[in-house]
Symmetry: D2
Subunit: 342 residues, 4 copies
């Protein structure tokens, strides 16, 4: 059994990791840390885990993670970069769900995250874990940077177009909508049900931290200059991201078969039949991305609909997928999660 540790087990990505790992046949959750809840049983904070998890929260210290084979960081940004080196030195693999190691350019990272990077020397080694793009690198990685939720939905939706040079990459638009769990388990006014419920709004239009991450991912698939407008919105539901992507075609091809071919071997990317609309409820609780391809009125604008569960394929599920790869397991084990509908 693989011994897994979770740093920051009280947030939504942390408890989602626990939901998945407690049933993972090859994994034993050996440690879950929480500065605030150290000493408390995990299932006291999360009654949904009663009967599935008898672990007690410990403090987030290397000492408490020493016996792990792999450690997940389900923490706010800025924590993983201070602990990764010590864990790697102990031969422990590190899978970071935060943004610390996502950007390869530390200067850009510091510009967007507003602090100095505590561990720039490891940035180069970190592998950006979007398996549909760089599976081989993930298998060989010690330090894994899990993609953000928006970047996962947007890249999986745009990549086939860029990989085949079919669109004007200087004019890409990603209009994205996220459920409120994306804001995390933080006591903030804007996340109150009275504020976020029964209402819809955009946020971070001036510039969101996922913009440089998406741009970096798209650049890897094209030689042209990427111009991307990314507008995130908050939609009154708990789980789910719906990315509506717009691009102008420069060549005429059968987009439906292009997408089906691109993802035919990808179990977690499901290209819907022509004419379909993707619905976040159909991926709720699962590690799947569903994609629908449209070319309205046969014009030269392509519209891609890409949906994921922000906490699963957008975070914890994809992190376990990366763990399976880097630990030499079947990529899909523990991730047979049928969506919860309705």
């Amino acid at each position: 059994m693989i011994k897994a540790g979770i740093v920051g087990g009280t947030g939504y990505t942390g408890v989602e990791l626990l939901r998945i790992l407690t049933l993972h046949p090859e994994v034993e959750v050996a440690a879950v840390t929480s500065r605030a809840d150290a000493g408390t049983r995990v299932d006291k904070v999360y009654p949904s885990l009663r009967g599935y998890c008898d672990v007690v929260f410990t403090r987030p210290e290397i000492e408490n993670l020493r016996d792990c084979d792999v450690v997940f960081f389900a923490t706010p940004n800025g924590i993983a970069m201070t602990m990764a080196e010590a864990l790697l030195a102990l031969g422990i693999k590190v899978i970071d769900l935060s943004a610390d190691f996502r950007l390869q350019d530390s200067a850009e990272w510091e510009h967007w995250y507003g602090v100095e990077h505590a561990c720039p020397e490891l940035i180069g080694e970190a592998v950006y874990a979007l398996p549909e793009v760089n599976r081989a690198a993930i298998r060989a990685a010690r330090l894994i940077a899990c993609p953000g939720c928006y970047p996962t939905a947007v890249q999986l939706g745009f990549l086939p177009l860029l990989e085949h040079g079919l669109v004007d990459v200087g004019n890409l638009i990603a209009d994205c909508k996220s459920g409120v769990s994306g804001a995390g388990r933080k006591a903030e006014l804007s996340s109150l049900m009275s504020e976020a419920g029964e209402s819809f709004k955009a946020y971070g239009v001036a510039g969101h931290r996922h913009l440089p991450e998406i741009r970096q991912g798209l650049r890897r698939a094209t030689t042209e200059g990427v111009g991307l407008t990314f507008v995130p919105h908050l939609t009154p539901m708990i789980r789910g991201i719906h990315a509506t992507l717009y691009a102008r075609l420069t060549k005429s091809v059968d987009l439906q078969s292009l997408y089906e071919t691109r993802y035919q071997d990808e179990k977690f990317v499901d290209v819907l039949p022509a004419g379909s609309h993707a619905d976040t409820r159909n991926v709720r609780g699962s590690n799947r991305c569903q994609i629908a391809v449209h070319q309205p009125q046969g014009g030269d604008v392509v519209v891609i609909l890409s949906v994921i569960d922000n906490l699963v394929k957008g975070a914890s599920g994809q992190a376990v997928q990366a763990m399976n790869l880097t630990m030499g397991l079947d990529e899909f084990i523990g991730l047979e999660l049928v969506p919860l509908y309705p």
Copy 2:
């Protein structure tokens, strides 16, 4: 007192007309028709109106509307065009909330609505009632076509840019999100809370009936060829539309002051301070459109956020605004509706 009649009083736009008109100081609701509920008191079907409306539903026949000064059609498409002529002949003004008289090109109307138009001879006379664009014509009109909900939010958002020739009108994108009340009070599986709740999806990407209406409205503001991609989405809330509009700037101007100037005399269009995000909850229940203007990272893409309550400024409120104009009343009377927050 103006005697108003409502044809189709059992739908959401009908009951919203009643919510507004029952408190309108210059209007008396003289008749409300419903084929299904004829003979039943309105407040028996809508207990929310108890104490405010003692009218009894009658059958949708000219005879029952004879005493009205103005008649609203809050009906499905296809009804108003069969009754408008007879009402006008009686000197009764007609305000249609459905789509029957919105498109000036009857061939295009028949293409999108799939039936022959029953009254093409009146199309030319019908006035498209977006007061912020053609107030004078509305004042003089006998037959008024109220804009659709999406077209209201999209046109108010795009028009200043087109009126000043600031953007590439061949590449406009309108990514719109609507609450479920936009689907009307119809027993359909897709509108069940178990289906529409906690989920987000696009629909009608191949082509939605509001596309030609928006295009027609935008064409009036420009001499260039309009190219518009319109993607509507369903968001899990009851009221509200959020339009996120994208265009490429061809000139550099102070967009914030451009919008503030364009709407400075428009009481129902509120341009938010620079840097704001528009939130549908802040217009819930009111006849107001709130607009926020953004130019992400100072690039050449302009992003306009335009929000309305689909049942008020997007339907019944705007219809009453048109009535005020055509009946020679103060445009704002009866529409002093402070948004319901939270």
Copy 3:
């Protein structure tokens, strides 16, 4: 014009007072205080009020309220009792929406609220403002204690039974459900949409502060000993309270006509036709309580369904109703609020 002040204008009852008072024909909002937002325009914090309120938040000091005729406290418990005396000394009427003056027994107040009462000498003078019970006293009051949200729904539902001695008052049960706005505008984990949405739970079963308040109100209507079990629940919606009340009949009467007679002159209490179910959406945004009376299978258990909007009849609307009374205005002025449906 009556000059009104609001202490604590940033909470939900505060902004709801503003929604109502900005359209009140006899009232001018002269001051709104907020320690945190002093110096900021109210409509900057609440864009829903743009165009309706140009007041700037001031600090909560007597000096800033000196010109008011009446001051509302929309504050957490513990504030009004420290400022009421000084305001009364200035001849300013005080209407407290918090719990400071609701309980006539200061010892019980201190037991349930856990602090010493700062102004016990005024408790005796304070009038509990449930107009349907003590209208005359409210008219004559200087210091008004507005009922809590649950107590309003429960008392209006139970009182007719107790006033006529029809039930076993030693065995009353009030199973109440509230929308999340009842928790106020406070950044708390339990009020996050991800926590409170799509879920239902009871809270405070061991003892809720509204229990002694309800008990005190019921005791005034009976000579027997009141035994009440009160269980509040949180339901995933923003506004509304639904009280389901159970009592055992000791006499046989026509309950429907009893309730209709009791409330026939009460404009804000609406007894629904026999066989109806009360639905919170039908009072949303209005100052009305709707009540349905049931006697399942003709047995000896009476079930009363009583619904209100917790922020209107359960708080700010009822406070304005009390203000109208104590300032000698028409009780209903400014409260003609048609429910927002859907």
Copy 4:
């Protein structure tokens, strides 16, 4: 592998059976019927099942079920009673999720369901499948009647009190709240999100079909006459039932340990620690019932909070639990479902 058939696979209990059975290691879904969708792939109607279910809907005829070992009826009431006999004759076990075989008294069944029972001779053989009460009988059954959703939550909550004769069984109150999925996948106005969302209401107060079922279950646990008041409510969420149960204690005991002892061997009934509140989100998607025991202010009223997911422990999950028992499998296999939180 056990071959399972599902009659009525297009409703919510049907698709939930598919969610569970597609991952059940001992079961193969051999047939799924739907009169309306015969000939269509199941995953075309339910994209959430893409990749998990390649079955095609067939017509609901015995012929199409001949190869099954067990057949589930996830149909409206009235279907199972017309097909059960033929299936049993073929040696096929029948598990009915509808109400056809729940009541042992056919006269009472006909009174509440308003039609003549098509197969009264099988009523006596049918086993009411609440495993926590009659596990042995279920193991031996050919024809299984699955409990309703409300009856499951209410019986599991009340039974320990009745089994030990601790309360006045003549005065039981069950105030129950259900998510909207309980109304099924039927196009009805009252289930529209615009109607059921953001609102709370009681329904069926005069008499609900689950009343006689609950009463029958409670009578089995006591010799005294059962007097039950049952009031169901609709709460604006999709999944979950919260039963708030009230009874008057006639003896004084340690209720917490009584409940813990009663259910200590029941994996699907989880008695929460003293002082807890049960929250439907903590059982969402799982087959678990969580129960909290309260005795407010140490009085003689006991308040039991009992929560389930209406589609799992309240329907499809419990049906699979019964199947496991009657097919001689481990009772828990295929039901290791960690709740989806948040």
